[in-house]
């Protein structure tokens, strides 16, 4: 975590795979897919999000933590024992990989929120309680960073090429029904372990190619609702924006998309009155959550996956379906590497989401 001041000016790669029936498959496919786009990243960050990997602990929050040193670990574990029943705490298994240097201490904990503490606090929802604990650790405990906090899911990330990071974390040994991945080519922000994608909160995970010019506008709005942007990377505001709009405000994903990547005013003018009024209202009420700048993102959640481009498609994105699988990636070849002849391949328009939900 000592390379925070390291800057290299220069795309990224993203990809995601989902089995719509919720059947699990190993991390090999996602590693193979992201590895094909090796040239899109520069070794300064790689990461994965996986859903369905902890079935035996699926009722507990799975926290993944980076510690820069033992003190950070001790302090954090003290905090965790105060706020949760710690069902299990262990090192996340890793392999020695030549190209992965100076990893932090990497631990995971399966946690049950302390119900008495929730009752005593002014927080009603269990998720909000967990949320506030994540924010507290990331803000106040020096050298500790919760990089994953959902149930039956986990993020795995670090500094290195994504295929090496996948090997480092032994992702071939995990099985999930949704996998997303990122290869980083940092532009405006430093390459450090915490700064690698995905950015997660509760069940949400985001991998992102691009940059957010509205970062400060978005951040200032989100901070009013308790979100602390502490990671020196623009992407975390995307995760918090979806958490706020969908979990806290109760909006549908489709509506949230119309807020972060709204139609242009000129397009709204051409729509039927009712629809135009609705879109105008969204733009007025949530103007601070419009995400400006070039982006393609994949949002992972426990019941599905969403891929989205900025409105004028300044970053690449291809989608495909084949049988029970939905694929999205920066490049078509990354999909064909693991699914040579998909049933359908298409390029989504800017601002037009690709949404896959698990079939119940």
């Amino acid at each position: 975590m000592d390379s925070k001041n390291f800057r290299i000016p220069s795309g990224c790669s993203i990809c995601g795979i989902m089995n719509k029936k919720g059947r699990v498959f190993s991390g090999n496919d996602i590693i193979q897919s992201i590895a094909l786009m090796h040239e899109r990243s520069n070794g300064l960050g790689g990461g994965f999000a996986a859903y369905g990997i902890y079935p035996e602990y699926k009722n507990y929050y799975a926290f993944h933590l980076f510690y820069s040193d033992k003190n950070a670990k001790e302090e954090t574990e003290h905090f965790l024992h105060q706020h949760f029943d710690v069902i299990l705490g262990e090192k996340i298994p890793t392999r020695k990989i030549k190209s992965i240097k100076n990893p932090p201490l990497i631990w995971r904990y399966f946690l049950k929120p302390d119900s008495k503490r929730i009752l005593l606090s002014d927080i009603e929802e269990e998720n909000d309680y967990v949320f506030s604990c994540v924010m507290k650790i990331n803000t106040y405990i020096k050298g500790a960073y919760v990089f994953s906090s959902g149930k039956n899911m986990g993020a795995f990330k670090g500094v290195g090429y994504p295929e090496d990071i996948g090997d480092f974390y032994r992702l071939d040994e995990y099985k999930g029904y949704i996998w997303t991945a990122h290869g980083r080519f940092p532009t405006n922000t430093p390459g450090w372990w915490g700064g690698a994608h995905p950015f997660t909160l509760l069940d949400w995970s985001v991998v992102h190619n691009g940059e957010i010019s509205s970062y400060d506008t978005n951040r200032r709005f989100l901070e009013m609702y308790g979100y602390k942007c502490a990671l020196q990377t623009d992407t975390e505001v995307i995760t918090y924006t979806f958490d706020y709009l969908v979990r806290k405000q109760g909006l549908s994903l489709e509506t949230a998309v119309k807020i972060v990547a709204p139609p242009f005013w000129s397009e709204i003018e051409r729509l039927p009155k009712k629809e135009a009024d609705f879109l105008r209202t969204l733009r007025y009420v949530y103007s601070s959550l419009l995400i400006n700048g070039p982006f393609s993102i994949i949002l992972g959640m426990s019941n599905g996956m969403l891929a989205l481009n900025d409105r004028i498609k300044l970053r690449p994105l291809t989608a495909a379906v084949h049988g029970e699988f939905l694929y999205v990636a920066s490049e078509e070849s990354a999909i064909r590497e693991i699914c040579p002849q998909p049933h359908r391949v298409w390029a989504p328009k800017g601002g037009e989401p690709v949404i896959g939900f698990l079939e119940k």
């Binding site: 094909l36 786009m37 090796h38 040239e39 000129s266 397009e267 051409r270 004028i312 498609k313 690449p316 291809t318 490049e331 078509e332 070849s333 990354a334 064909r336 590497e337 391949v345 390029a347 328009k349 800017g350």
Partner: protein, 247 residues
């Protein structure tokens, strides 16, 4: 004699060296198999020979290419024919974004659809005029900042909900010409372009390239010939000439 190269598992550098060597050896037909994602295929290659590509070539296919003819059995990705100088690329499929980016000569024929910013900043000089023919539809910003060359969009195989071109078509265009089959809604056009009447010479030019298109992809010429075309040209050669300096 034809020579074959198996691209399976090769990175773009290794693959590029093999292709360059085959070209230097004077091969007239080079077949590339199991291509998947390798960038810069045929980038900068000069000469008079054919390359057949089986698979999905990576970004910047035929960038700076000067002479060869490429046939792709499948889709191509972003940046196809980036700054190409001469030669021909035929895609029996669709392409990603910015196809024909800054293309300065040669021909690109696409059977299916093209993505965003197709033909961005194409240019021409004297007799060197690049040509881009798209069988399907395109995304937003078709011919953005176009300075020269010819773009033809046919809109074949569209679903009822599809539109032949996206928004902001011809934004910043200041040279060249686009022919779009059928009628397009005026709001699709950028501020810098206008639709004008087709003339005899336009039909002669269209026929030449449409015959080629139909021959490459087994389409029937009369389906295309029976439709009307809209000709799009810029208002002005220097749309932003007075942006910072008053008249």
């Amino acid at each position: 004699m034809a020579v074959s190269i198996n691209y399976k598992g090769l990175n773009f550098r290794q693959a590029g060296e093999l292709l360059k060597k085959a070209a230097a050896d004077g091969e007239k037909q080079i077949n590339l198999f199991n291509v998947n994602g390798q960038r810069y295929i045929a980038a900068g290659l000069k000469g008079n020979f054919f390359i057949n590509i089986h698979g999905t070539p990576g970004n910047d296919l035929a960038a700076y290419m000067d002479g060869p003819e490429i046939f792709v059995m499948g889709n191509a990705q972003d940046g196809c024919c980036n700054t190409m100088n001469s030669g021909r690329v035929i895609i029996n499929g669709s392409v990603g974004d910015i196809a024909g980016y800054a293309m300065r000569g040669g021909e690109l024929f696409i059977k299916g659809n093209a993505g965003y910013r197709t033909g961005i900043h194409m240019k021409e000089y004297g007799d060197t005029v690049p040509v881009l023919v798209i069988g399907g539809r395109t995304g937003d910003f078709l011919g953005e900042y176009m300075a020269g060359g010819i773009i033809i969009v046919l809109g074949l195989g569209m679903e009822p909900c599809d539109e032949i071109v996206g928004n902001f078509c011809g934004t910043g265009m200041h040279g060249g010409v686009m022919y779009i089959r059928g009628k397009i809604n005026p709001h699709k056009l950028g501020k810098e372009v206008k639709s004008v009447e087709m003339e005899e010479k336009d039909y002669i030019l269209l026929e030449k390239y449409l015959k080629q298109f139909c021959a490459y992809f087994n389409e029937s010429l009369h389906i295309i010939e029976e439709s009307s075309f809209q000709k799009i040209v810029p208002f002005n050669k220097r749309p932003y000439g007075n942006l910072y300096t008053p008249h």
